[in-house]
């Protein structure tokens, strides 16, 4: 079992150059998705089926009265307890040996359950038309370049990141590095913190943030939706079992009817012929 890897993102070292956005498109041959003007330097409001990572720009007046221009490499968090993996009806989403969460494009039927249940809203559907014009959909998100990992390479975005804002390494080493880094920057960024939310069992993309997650538009304490847990861990199994049970009951009734009902020959006191 290969060691679990984590993408460490220290947003305080990021200078917003967006090489990560382009390296991702270059490696994965993703088409461009021109957007309307969003009023800031940010190009896309959120990741999408063709744009697997987006650099977000936030102008934030910090507690010391100064201005911070916060950048964040936002993409899939590759949760340890991934809601998308849990809700996928086709089991198309799976954990790889590296700890990354990938979607098998052949199995995915484009139902969108994952899209609705991802606590970070980082998985999206893409429309396609096959050769005879029939439309179909597939779910897409950052794959953490699992194909590169399998060849011993790092993800394309981490490889191209020049300030060292991003690193790819063993899970524990990266978590420790993050905690270390937060101590270093505590005086400049009093609210600095490590973002590795437990609500999703910890993630394989961990952040060193300069401010509270909400400042970056990130959920404060994301978790696998309770509804998804109830649905997939309880309702679904119980539902199947119940259908099984009633079927058994019905079959049981049929058999027992056959066995016990032979001599009783119907219950009509008035001897009416019971219909066959």
């Amino acid at each position: 079992m290969a060691a679990e890897y984590v993408k460490y993102v220290d947003v305080t070292k990021c200078d917003g150059c967006r090489a990560c956005m382009v390296a991702c498109k270059n490696w994965n041959d993703l088409p461009a998705e021109p957007q309307d003007f969003l009023g800031t330097m940010q190009s896309h409001a959120n990741v999408s089926a063709d744009t697997w990572n987006v650099l977000t720009f936030v102008e934030h007046e910090n507690s010391k009265g100064g201005l911070d221009y916060l950048f964040r490499h936002s993409s899939c968090y590759h949760c340890s307890d991934a809601a998308c993996e849990k809700v996928c009806p086709e089991n198309a989403i799976s954990y790889t040996e590296f700890g990354t969460v990938v979607i098998d494009q052949d199995t995915c039927v484009g139902c969108g359950y994952c899209v609705q249940n991802c606590p970070f809203d980082v998985i999206s559907l893409k429309e396609y038309k096959d050769k005879n014009g029939k439309e179909y959909r597939k779910a897409h998100k950052c794959t953490m370049c699992t194909d590169r990992l399998e060849e011993g390479l790092q993800p394309a975005c981490v490889t191209t990141c020049h300030t060292g804002a991003m690193e790819f390494g063993g899970k524990d080493a990266m978590i420790e590095k993050a905690e270390e880094r937060v101590k270093e920057i505590k005086d400049r960024y009093p609210n600095a913190m490590v973002y590795n939310p437990e609500g999703v069992g910890g993630t394989h993309t961990i952040y060193v943030l300069a401010e509270r997650p909400s400042v970056y538009g990130m959920p404060e304490n994301p978790k696998v939706p309770t509804s998804a847990v109830l649905w997939k861990d309880y309702a679904q199994p119980i539902g199947k079992m119940m259908i099984g049970a009633t079927t058994m009951a019905v079959v049981g009734a049929f058999i027992s009817n056959k066995l016990f009902n032979k001599e009783g020959n119907g219950t009509h006191e008035d001897g009416g012929e019971s219909d066959e």
Binding site: R18, V22, N91, S94, D106, T160, H162
Partner: protein, 190 residues
Amino acid sequence: MVEINLNRRQFLKLSGATAATLAVVELGFNEKEAYAKSKELKIARATVTPTICCFCGVGCGILVHTKDNTVVYTEGDPDSPVNEGTLCSKGTTIRQVYTSEKRLTKPLYRAPGSDKWEEKDWEWMYKTIAQRTKETRDKTFVEKENGFTVNKTEAIASLGGAALDNEETYLLAKMMRGLGVVYLEHQARI
């Protein structure tokens, strides 16, 4: 229906269902293997050539991966001490300098007053440009002015190019000075 073949899977195959059926049937049940098989590593079997970025003055090293006569990937050159394998957004996109459909691939000529380009071959272009240059130069060449030997023409200007290689800038300066051009400028000025 003589005999219901309860093995659903068999049933589908025998009934000659559409090819898509077979796809379902043949589906590899091991997702990971299905995932990897669908994508041979892009840069496998590619030729790698080091170059220097064409954009700003930092001079980052870039590796160009080429395969089947196109550029499949470009990334930072890990050997270069300038950027140690990392790049910015422009350097990372340098692949599209080749793959972009907007690239000019044919010499184009616009006749006076015309509102469109016409394709011309290189030989015609070279010949015509040389003629125009000679014509203008001969007409406006000044050998002496106020008693000084000047050997210049002020009717031809040459602008550019800060993105040309050193060898190209050397030949361009030599050519233009050789022609007596004094209006010799480029982006370093602006």
